[in-house]
């Protein structure tokens, strides 16, 4: 970092130029990404050397977890108490809840196991909204093309087609579950039109929302629906340590760790849906994260060890506007709704430097460039750029109080007024673009194992659009839940155990990898709880 | 010597029978010298027997000093706490004794309305009391009393909510006014602002019963009933692991040993004595070290505990302090009125932790969490409910922590 501009000086520069005129990028998008995106930095990626995706480039921090040994052995599951279900859902966020509801409503007996508490997830934190092509000028095809383009044409077209085609139906389903959506100004509840915003990188206004806490509104409805749905057993504080297999290599459930009682529980199921979310809490490349506490890539580790293929695990999304100051809120997200509503990004010279509505990877790289080239703003040792909320309030009076409520609260928690003072922001680790490769029903390729939500790859290519994550988790939660229920009743697992681990260990040894590193991580290091140590004590 | 619970005086609602036994004498003496009532109560050393032990004459003097008219007396018979069963006995078996005491109090403080505030779940007491009140209404003493006070005396039977919290004095006031028994912050005390904003004397049933007897027999006689300087007698509600549980009227200052081993006829099945939860049960536990403690307000306070309502729940070897504590904290949690979240949520939280330890599902940090709550919670309510719960918790942790640790090891 080449220093930066002290906060007071930057504040004066911003005031002098407000509102700063738009300014296009001087670099080509390709060059900007190449030079400034964290994924492109030297040493960031290594090829995987064991497993179904050997040879695939992978973020180095993640590769270490993927190519590690299990936390448990066969002796650990002897005498463990056993639960049985048709479908086991691992993960209590949006995708897990949708999958569990869908499966249970077809008559399947479902166990939903979650590491924290039902609903604690990235879903609840999503602010911006959910994409669905409902506008008269919009179409499924435009949503399809926008998503592919934003992902640099690396996404799986069949998955994207499924995603966008489900969009309007997903919104109807969510309304049926009791989720509310904002309506256009002056619109009635019956026969009105939905409020639509234009997400970064889109060609049409397609982002539907509930205020600026869409994910919270969604999660509240889903959580309540799960709690009330007969046929679902919810196990809070039961992280999955390892998937179970039957004698033919089919996934047969999971070994769970009951945190309250400190013991192993086996959840055996005809089909298992992994909905464990992302990896922000790995703090890849040292970045702060907007993710919830549980986002430690557990599902990727478990699925990969059982033989599932991965894709684009070298691609992460850095949300452009994470909080850089104050330190106690570092990494928390300032919703993209701010930029979508017209808030500008301003550097230490009071100048704009990028089209704020460009895709997230471009905007994030542009901010990192400002900081790297000395035009960032320094405050108490933290560097960032301004998100000009006062400028937005000037152009659209009342907008902060009315539709950017969470953002206004956020500033207040940081000790300032968003209408007077701009946010100091810096990119924050936000989303895992890749993940477990799946088909249009969520099948992972391993019999008995499905995936839904952020743990999957292929839907977003190398960059996810705002609003496609909430859509994905409902669309593929429903697909996976229904496929799992249908399949579970056809197939009953037998001779359940950890047969896959022996081969896995042989492969690690063959590559000279240590068996001493254990995964999944379950909790980040600052959680002061090491599952391997805990297991050691229990044994 | 039995004063309140003498079988001969247990004549029920029959006022004529009560008068034939010398009933009404206390009130007559009071009427003869109204100014002498409060000094007599003071000389007798009577204190509030609903649990607080506040000197009765001071409360009376405070209400008497307030300007009338419109003052109230509430005879508090809400009695709902686990292990206490004395007021229901007095109200149903010897109601006139209680009424007479309440009338003496009304005269002393200049109140023309006396509310006999009863727990509606004590159906027998309510029925007998209604009958008893009807008989007083025709009695000439009542007319004399009205004349002395200068207002027409009204004697009301008020059934409250039956909720435990309704026994707290400000809650009793709210309940008598027809509202939900929410305790309020003090000051103002009911003596300043009570029913309908008027000065109100709130006294426990047993306290008022003693007051009538003090006027009848005189303060010196009364003081002489107690042991070791403590005045009068006390109703002890004895329960738990003793051979003969029940209501025992004994001299104030009787030793715990005497109560348990003589009057209670010893421990059930000869088990070793472990502890006593005093009523309650919201106080520091008494243990074997306290067996020779005189059961009176000052002696128990000096030992860091309280006499409370006089309920003595005896626990022997074989009975779990942890389970008892869980039961009582659970009672407080269920009965917290809801106004103060730290009380409602805090007692609930304590209750949840106790229940999981009890169920063999305790967690490593649970003891520390309980100790923290026992320190954090006191003072967090408008009334003393949460303080009582915290006290009994802290005491049981301190004295019987080993039982908690054993249950945690069973995990």
């Amino acid at each position: 970092m080449n220093g930066g501009i002290p906060y007071a000086e930057a504040l004066a520069a911003w005031r002098a130029k407000i509102p700063a005129p738009a300014q296009p990028l001087a670099l080509s998008a390709a060059e900007l990404l190449e030079r400034f995106h964290p994924d492109r930095q030297p040493g960031a990626m290594v090829p995987l050397c064991v497993g179904a995706s050997a040879g695939l480039p992978c973020r180095v921090e993640l590769a270490a977890l993927l190519q590690s040994d299990s936390l448990i052995e066969d002796v650990d599951i002897a005498g463990a108490s056993m639960l049985n279900a048709d479908v086991l859902v691992i993960g209590g966020g949006g995708a897990g809840c949708v999958a569990a509801l869908t499966a249970a409503r077809t008559g399947a007996r479902v166990i939903l196991a979650t590491k924290l508490r039902l609903g604690d997830s990235n879903t609840v934190m999503a602010e911006g909204g959910i994409q669905a092509a409902v506008g008269p000028e919009d179409s499924l095809q435009r949503h399809f093309e926008d998503t592919l383009r934003a992902g640099h044409f690396t996404a799986d077209k069949a998955l994207v087609a499924a995603l966008v085609s489900d969009g309007p139906g997903v919104i109807r389903w969510l309304i049926q579950e009791g989720m509310g959506f904002d309506l256009a100004e002056g619109s009635g509840r019956m026969g009105g039109t939905l409020l639509r915003k234009k997400p970064g990188g889109a060609t049409a206004a397609r982002l539907l929302s509930y205020r600026d806490f869409t994910g919270l509104e969604m999660m509240r409805a889903l959580r309540e629906a799960v709690l009330l749905q007969p046929g679902i057993t919810v196990l809070d504080r039961h992280p999955a340590l390892e998937l179970l297999t039957d004698d033919r290599g089919r996934c047969a459930g999971a070994a769970l760790h009951d945190l309250a009682q400190g013991r192993t529980v086996l959840a055996c199921a005809g089909a298992t849906v992994l909905a464990t979310g992302g990896a922000g809490r790995l703090h890849i490349a040292g970045f702060p994260t907007s993710n919830h506490y549980g986002a430690t890539a557990d599902g990727l580790v478990l699925a990969y060890r059982l033989g599932a293929a991965l894709r684009e695990v070298d691609s992460f999304q850095y949300h452009p506007t994470g909080i850089a100051w104050p330190p106690h809120m570092e990494g928390q997200l300032v919703s993209e709704a701010a930029r979508a509503s017209g808030a500008a990004l301003v550097n230490g010279l009071g100048e704009r430097f990028v089209d704020e509505l460009n895709t997230r990877d471009i905007v994030a790289a542009a901010i990192l460039r400002e900081i790297a080239e000395g035009r960032g703003i320094l405050r108490d040792g933290r560097a960032g750029v301004f998100l000009d909320t006062p400028g937005l309030e000037q152009t659209k009076p009342g907008i902060l109080g009315k539709s950017l409520v969470t953002l206004t609260h956020l500033a207040r928690r940081g000790g300032f007024d968003a209408a007077d003072e701009p946010f100091l922001i810096r990119p924050t680790l936000h989303y895992q673009n890749g993940g477990v490769a799946i088909d249009h029903d969520g099948w992972s390729g391993v019999p008995g194992l499905l995936c839904a939500g952020e743990v999957t790859g292929g839907l977003h290519g190398r960059n996810r659009m705002m609003g496609n994550a909430l859509l994905e988790l409902v669309a593929f939660g429903r697909r996976a839940g229904s496929a799992a229920a249908a399949d579970a009743r056809a197939e009953r697992p037998r001779n359940i155990g950890l047969a896959h681990l022996a081969d896995w260990r042989r492969a690690l040894i063959a590559q000279g990898l240590p068996l001493t590193r254990k995964a999944p991580l379950v909790f980040p290091p600052y959680g002061n709880f090491d599952m391997a140590t805990e297991r050691g004590r229990a044994a | 010597m039995k004063v309140l619970t003498d079988e001969r005086r247990c004549v029920g609602a029959d006022l004529a029978a009560w008068v034939a036994l010398g009933g009404g004498e206390g009130l007559e003496r009071a009427l003869a010298d109204p100014a002498g009532i409060i000094p007599a109560i003071e000389a007798a050393g009577l204190r509030g027997l609903g649990g607080a032990g506040f000197p009765t004459h001071r409360k009376w003097a405070a209400v008497a000093a307030q300007p009338g008219p419109g003052k109230w007396v509430i005879c508090n018979g809400n009695e709902d706490e686990p292990g206490t069963f004395k007021d229901r006995f007095l109200l149903s078996r010897t109601p006139h004794q209680v009424i007479e005491g309440a009338l003496v109090a009304a005269l002393a403080v200049g109140a023309a309305t006396v509310a006999l505030y009863v727990n509606p779940r004590e159906e027998a007491a309510v029925r007998v009391l209604r009958e008893a009140v009807a008989q007083w209404e025709a009695h000439p003493l009542l007319a004399q009393l009205s004349e002395a006070i200068g207002e027409n005396l009204r004697l009301l039977v008020v059934t409250g909510s039956g909720l435990y919290v309704g026994g707290e004095e400000t809650a009793a006031v709210a309940s008598v006014m027809g509202g939900f028994p929410f305790p309020t912050l003090k000051p103002p005390y009911p003596a300043e602002r009570g029913v309908n904003g008027a000065p109100t004397l709130v006294n426990n049933v047993e306290t008022l019963a003693h007051a009538g007897q003090i006027l009848r027999g005189g303060p010196e006689w009364y003081r002489g009933l107690g042991l070791g300087g403590a005045p009068g007698t006390k109703l002890f509600s004895l329960s738990g692991d003793v051979l003969r549980p029940g209501l025992h009227e004994l001299p104030m200052g009787t030793s715990l040993r005497s109560l348990v081993f003589e009057h209670g006829e010893g421990m059930l099945g000869g088990k070793a004595f472990k502890a006593v939860f005093t009523g309650g049960p919201s106080n520091t536990l008494l243990t074997a070290d306290d067996l020779d403690a005189p059961l009176d307000f000052d002696s128990l306070r000096a030992r860091g505990s309280r006499l409370g309502t006089g309920a003595m729940i005896v626990v022997g070897e074989g009975t779990s302090i942890l389970r008892k504590t869980a039961e009582y904290v659970g009672f407080f949690a269920a009965n917290s009125c809801g106004q103060c979240p730290p009380c409602k949520i805090g007692t609930h939280q304590v209750s949840r932790i106790l229940e999981r330890i009890e169920a063999g599902a305790g967690r490593p940090g649970d003891l520390q969490a309980l100790e923290n709550l026992a320190e954090l919670l006191p003072g967090s309510g408008r009334c003393g409910l949460v303080d009582g719960a915290a006290t009994v918790l802290a005491s049981s942790l301190k004295t019987f922590g080993g039982e908690y640790e054993r249950a945690l090891r069973r995990r």
């Binding site: 009791g178 509240r220 600052y526 | 520390q368 320190e375």
Partner: protein, 224 residues
């Protein structure tokens, strides 16, 4: 104040679940707990956004008599604080309904009363309002819902983060958090019928929204 008051790393001392902690000034309660090396495996979720309601605490500040409820991620450390984590209090699960069978809006009031019969017993103790870390008028919502004023009740629960503190606080077992969700969910599912969405769904049903994989926009631009 500690004597290191002039240094940059200002410290404050507090007691958290029985653990004496020396914390950085400006840290949240949750950060202070973690920084003290104590295990964080529950009562944690969004870590500061204040939307998940997982980190419920009772807090008593130095010199204050009454403790209060708060979210640990949103509350900053203060000298002399005493703090206890509060468990998640699940409701008794007795308030069951099936939104999908609830299709007749004429019966909305009856449904509220059938599913949440306790709502009409509100004793107006204000405990739920005092317990809510988001300042929601919980009691008013309960009263409005009991009177069948579903939209008004639903609007009051806009900012609910499902911490369930009101569930723990309510002496009548009304389960306000769940009642709030019930009226919100019922309002949406019974009355939200956007015409643009319905139009698009019809088009899709009639095959009018095909997705073409080979369209020029669905493939990388061909470089000349």
């Amino acid at each position: 104040m500690t004597e290191s008051g002039t240094e940059a790393g200002l410290k404050v001392s507090l007691v958290f679940d029985g653990h004496p902690i020396l914390a950085e000034a400006g840290a949240s309660l949750l950060q202070a707990w973690g920084a003290a090396g104590l295990p964080l495996t529950e009562n944690i979720g969004c870590m500061g956004q204040g939307v998940c309601g997982a980190c419920r605490v009772l807090v008593r500040r130095q010199g204050e008599r009454l403790a209060g409820t708060a979210l640990a991620c949103e509350t900053q450390v203060e000298e002399g604080m005493q703090i206890s984590f509060i468990d998640h209090f699940p409701a008794h699960r007795s308030h069951t309904y099936d939104l999908r069978t609830l299709t007749d809006s004429w019966t909305a009031l009856e449904q509220i009363d059938t599913v949440f019969p306790e709502a009409k017993n509100c004793r107006h103790c204000d405990g739920c309002d005092r317990a809510c870390p988001k300042g929601i008028e919980v009691q008013r919502m309960v009263n409005l819902a009991a009177a069948g004023q579903a939209f008004d009740a639903a609007a009051l629960f806009d900012h609910c983060v499902m911490c369930n503190l009101c569930v723990a606080a309510c002496p009548e077992h009304i389960d306000p958090a769940h009642l709030g969700q019930f009226v919100r969910r019922m309002s949406a599912s019974l009355t939200l019928r956007p015409a643009d969405l319905i139009t698009r769904l019809r088009e899709i049903d009639q095959g009018g929204q095909p997705v073409d994989f080979d369209a020029p926009g669905a493939n990388p631009p061909v470089r000349p």
